[in-house]
């Protein structure tokens, strides 16, 4: 029982990271109707920036918040420079650009910081807490993701800019008609998605180690979370991300599955949800009148 509980807690801590990635994906999906394949690489690049800042001797939390700021600006710039001109382009153009962005960030990080695996510090230490139930880094990771999610909730629920961003996602045409600068709201969404990804990257890097491919499987789990929860529901994406984390960890207990098939479980879950409920567990079915 103790083992199951500790596996659930470990699942919650990585699930929080998946939830953040899922949320970043959903935010961009809501704004531009496309899945950002490069979300993970953006997060990885942000984590390398944090590593560089730490390497230059900055204190952890200063580097942490500076990285969030830099990532935010970077996300806004990517939207303004790359995606704004693509606004009315067909789906395939977007996919090609996402792949390009993926490749550029991945090999760019390898070029600048090379492909050797680096260790990344945790500010929470790695001492076991409550017996051996959970490590202090895992506990810190859960706290940070919950703080991020609460801040985002408050932002969207209680601020005017948050309201304007929700309106833009819900009905861009009406948003324009009341004078909301829709283009900038989308750029802001990109910036926030990049910043959330940066937090996720910096939190998971001590666990998976820092290298240019570190986010690929994390992003897959993030996608799984987003799809399970529903791509139209930020709340669903968060729940989906946490669930995937827990399921991933508990799948080790299923006979014959074991840890080697963890990723398969996530992918099987995507297929299963899409078959039974294509809009995701919390997603909204979009009905179009013709």
């Amino acid at each position: 029982m103790e083992l199951v509980l500790s596996q659930i807690l470990a699942g919650l801590s990585t699930g929080g990271i998946y939830a953040c990635m899922a949320l970043a994906i959903v935010m961009i999906y809501q704004a531009i109707d496309h899945l950002n394949f490069a979300q993970g690489e953006m997060a990885m690049f942000s984590t390398f920036i944090a590593w560089q800042l730490l390497h230059w001797g900055l204190p952890y939390w200063l580097a942490f918040f500076l990285t969030i700021g830099i990532s935010f600006v970077g996300g806004v710039l990517i939207e303004r420079i790359v995606f704004k001109p693509l606004k009315n382009a067909p789906v395939l153009s977007h996919i090609v650009v996402f792949i390009a962005l993926f490749a550029i960030l991945n090999s760019g990080a390898g070029f600048i910081w090379d492909f050797t695996i680096k260790s990344f510090p945790t500010p929470f230490g790695t001492t076991p807490l409550f017996g051996t139930l959970i490590s202090s880094h895992d506990a810190g990771m859960i706290s940070v993701t919950i703080i991020v999610l609460l801040l985002l909730y408050a932002f969207f629920r209680y601020t005017r800019v948050g309201l304007a961003m929700r309106a833009t996602a819900a009905n861009p045409e009406s948003a324009r008609l009341v004078g909301i600068r829709v283009g900038w709201m989308i750029a802001l969404g990109w910036g926030m998605a990049a910043a959330i990804g940066a937090v996720a990257g910096m939190m998971i890097a001590p666990v998976v180690f820092l290298e240019p491919n570190m986010m690929i499987s994390i992003l897959l789990y993030g996608f799984a979370g987003a799809v399970v929860g529903g791509l139209t529901s930020p709340f669903g994406a968060v729940i989906g991300g946490f669930s995937i984390g827990i399921i991933e960890n508990l799948s080790g207990f299923i006979p014959y599955v074991g840890r080697e098939l963890k990723l398969t479980i996530a992918l099987a879950l995507i297929v299963a949800v899409l078959t039974v409920r294509p809009s995701g567990l919390f997603g909204r079915v979009i009905v179009t009148r013709v």
Partner: protein, 238 residues
């Protein structure tokens, strides 16, 4: 009083390569209600969309003395053009209150916004009762009222109304038009009204234009157009 708020000269509008307005001229007098009447597909909605920068246009548009052709929808909204679109443009999963707040999104005066919500609730008591209800759950007429309320929150210089009677029960049409009349009389809001329900529109409007396949075929005082039996038979169908 008879200052011209908006004037269009040789206005053409396009959906892709298809031209839907063929060089129309019209003026809107400040504080007055102007009606555009015509059949389905005549170009009424396109005229409004052209004025809001939602479709490609050529020609000249002057609004409050400023050339505004080619400006974006957002900029035009911020200049004071409040467009209540076809289908009402409700943010249906948000509350009534949030919908009204969104109308004031380009304003910064918090006290003024709060006062304007009170003012709008005064015109539409139904909205106050349901401030925290999801907008999409209201009836068509109530959503139309909400859309007008949202436009009022912008403190507009000109309201563009796209078929406010569309899909409403006759009693509800009367209610909506009674409110529009009140807005005209109490606040002097300038309006450009597009309607298939010619009788309702002509009763409210000062000026009227008849539009047919993208061209203006007749214009004049709303009263006179409403009185002329030949016009009524030929163009308005009542």
């Amino acid at each position: 009083m008879s200052e011209i708020l908006l004037s269009a000269r040789h206005l053409c509008a396009f959906y892709g390569a298809t031209r839907v307005l063929h060089g129309i001229d019209f003026d809107i007098v400040e504080g007055s209600v102007t009606a555009f009447l015509g059949a389905n597909g005549a170009g009424k909605t396109s005229t409004l969309r052209a004025l809001s920068g939602m479709i490609e246009t050529t020609g000249e548009i002057r609004f409050g003395g400023q050339a505004v052709a080619g400006k974006t929808t957002e900029e035009l909204a911020r200049l004071g053009i409040a467009h209540v679109p076809e289908g009402r443009g409700t943010f249906s999963r948000m509350t009534i209150e949030e919908n009204l707040q969104l109308g004031a999104m380009s304003r910064k005066d918090r006290a003024g916004i709060a006062a304007d919500i009170e003012r709008v609730d005064g015109y539409f008591p139904r909205l106050r009762e349901r401030a925290h209800q999801q907008a999409g759950t209201m009836s068509g007429g109530e959503q139309q009222m909400l859309a007008i309320g949202r436009a009022l929150m912008m403190r507009p210089k000109l309201m563009l109304l796209d078929e406010p009677s569309f899909g409403l029960a006759p009693l509800m049409v009367d209610e909506v038009y009674a409110i529009l009349r009140k807005l005209k009389e109490d606040e002097g809001v300038s309006m450009l009204l597009v309607e298939q329900n010619a009788a309702a529109a002509l009763a409210l409007a000062d000026q009227a234009y008849l539009i047919e396949t993208g061209e203006i075929v007749m214009s004049g005082l709303a009263q006179e157009i409403g009185r002329d039996e030949n016009i009524r038979r030929a163009y308005l169908g009542y």
